[in-house]
């Protein structure tokens, strides 16, 4: 199996502040990769570079097979992205949101129409086709937002705190969708502040002061840090941070 992400020495500087400090890692095809770190550790900046919306100050790498320094437009076309803050247009209907995002990613009208039927069927959403997104309950919105993010069948989907504020049962249902996507071969790159969710990842990296200070399976991380939980692992590492925000 190949790697969907390969980066070496990836760096981002703002003036004399180094937000991301020479990080190197791979993400394998079909993997669920947890990208953890304290607020201000550099996660968001790193994700922006990986998604092709911020130019690295240094380092090399590929995402979905494209060069992060030279082919950012191609990267954008071949990834999916969802965050808790921005995902769907509230003032558009369910089918309109799907069509909009399908169109943005260059799918034909015919393909969009076919896939829309199939998606609504699978989510048991057929009766909500014409519903305004703003009147959907939060849990449904999250499911729809995730489905829209992978509608164009990207190699990898970036999920930035997808479950913040979601109720406990819904949060678990959302993770079951993540597993389904991974089983269909979509690589999942996810950030979260819920440490139980870190356990659901195949591998987890933890950023501290712009560096990746740990990267392994949750089980190995617990073992090597002599910790009973990922929360403890995280606390041990994050408390070593020296950066003053």
């Amino acid at each position: 199996m190949g790697n969907v992400i390969e980066v070496r020495g990836l760096t981002k500087r703002f003036g004399n502040f180094t937000a991301v400090d020479r990080i190197s890692f791979n993400v394998k095809e079909g993997e669920i990769f947890g990208f953890l770190g304290a607020n201000g550790a550099g996660k968001t900046t790193a994700i922006q570079m990986l998604c092709g919306i911020s130019k690295p100050s240094g380092g090399t790498g590929t995402v979905a097979g494209f060069d992060i320094n030279k082919e950012s437009e191609k990267i954008k076309r071949n990834i999916g992205y969802m965050s808790q803050r921005f995902s769907l247009y509230e003032d558009l209907r369910v089918w309109e949101n799907i069509r909009l995002f399908g169109g943005i990613y260059g799918l034909s009208e015919k393909v969009i129409a076919e896939k829309t039927d199939e998606l609504l069927e699978r989510l048991d959403f057929a009766s909500e086709r014409n519903t305004m997104v703003k009147s959907l309950p939060l849990g449904w919105k999250q499911k729809l937002a995730f489905s829209v993010a992978i509608f164009h069948e990207p190699k990898i989907v970036f999920l930035d705190e997808p479950t913040g504020g979601v109720d406990p049962a819904m949060r678990r249902q959302f993770w079951e969708m993540i597993y389904d996507a991974a089983e269909r071969g979509i690589t999942v790159f996810v950030t979260t502040h819920y440490m139980d969710e870190a356990e659901y990842c195949d591998r987890v990296s933890i950023m501290v002061d712009g560096r990746i200070d740990a990267l392994d399976t949750p089980k190995e991380l617990r073992r090597t840090h002599h910790a009973a939980s990922m929360e403890e692992v995280f606390t041990q590492l994050a408390r070593q941070a020296k950066r003053v925000e």
Partner: protein, 335 residues
Amino acid sequence: MIVVENLHKTYSTGLGRKGKKGKDNGNGKGDGDRNSNRNGDVKALNGVTFRVNKGEIHGIIGPDGAGKSTLFRILTSLLLPDEGPSKVTVAGYDVVRDFREIRQIIGYMPGRFSLYQDLTVEENLNFFATLFNTTVKENYHVIKDIYGQIEPFKDRRAGALSGGMKQKLALSCALVHRPTVLFLDEPTTGVDPVSRQEFWEILDRLSEQGITILVSTAYMDEANRCTRISLMQAGRFMATDTPKGITESYDELLWSVEGERMPALLAELRAHPDVKTAFAFGDNHHVTVKERLSVDALREYLTGKGFNEVRVTPIEPTVEDAFMKASMEVLNGNE
């Protein structure tokens, strides 16, 4: 310090949801983020009743859409409750009639950052002190603990602060007039676990100074930091008690199941006729079972299905277990 009896709040959306309530969401449960009737009115608060004692840290635990912010806006006199036989007072003042008095004695940190982005840290703080006819100097002892951490950046514009620093500034501004009651609406949303722990240590110290705190959160693990908590879902309070009282009144048989191939294990557990619920909880699954099932029987069953080295252990429930059970009852009974 806070008394709420039979509080209702209805928003009229004019959307008209044509008889789609109680729709199955694919998991056999109704999805009740909001209760809405056929006219499209949304019942954000549905008969909320609770009390907060002086000096308590009282937690409102519930997901987005449960009605937490609506409750906070009513208690801070920024939103009117529905008319009807209800009682809502803060420090003995009625939230509708005595709104002027209430605004003098409370501090409010809304969920969304609402300071002046173009003013510096120090200017924001001075501004809020002036609004309450006081000075930063006069009440410096109240905010010293928190403000001290951002004071080195006092000349920076608020808009240019990091998330953690904005949070500390917002808390300083809510405290600068030395309020009797502090309302914190989801102060830790989107905040990492270590910064959250630090924030709760700050709340402990404020509580020691005698300030009553009402704080909302969607993080179930923060419940244990509160004196008492209320579990909230779909505009209702499902329970109010100490965190210990909440978990002690949990009456299901609860086991932890660990092993390999956790997603497949979860599916297998759900298929067992004597398993009532099964949910992932980090590195193990939590299952509730019928009384006739034994630990050994479940382990043997799973081994027979090809799962090696399965561990099944009876465990004490967490607040999250209690929340999920109560929430399922409310959502299923929502029709």
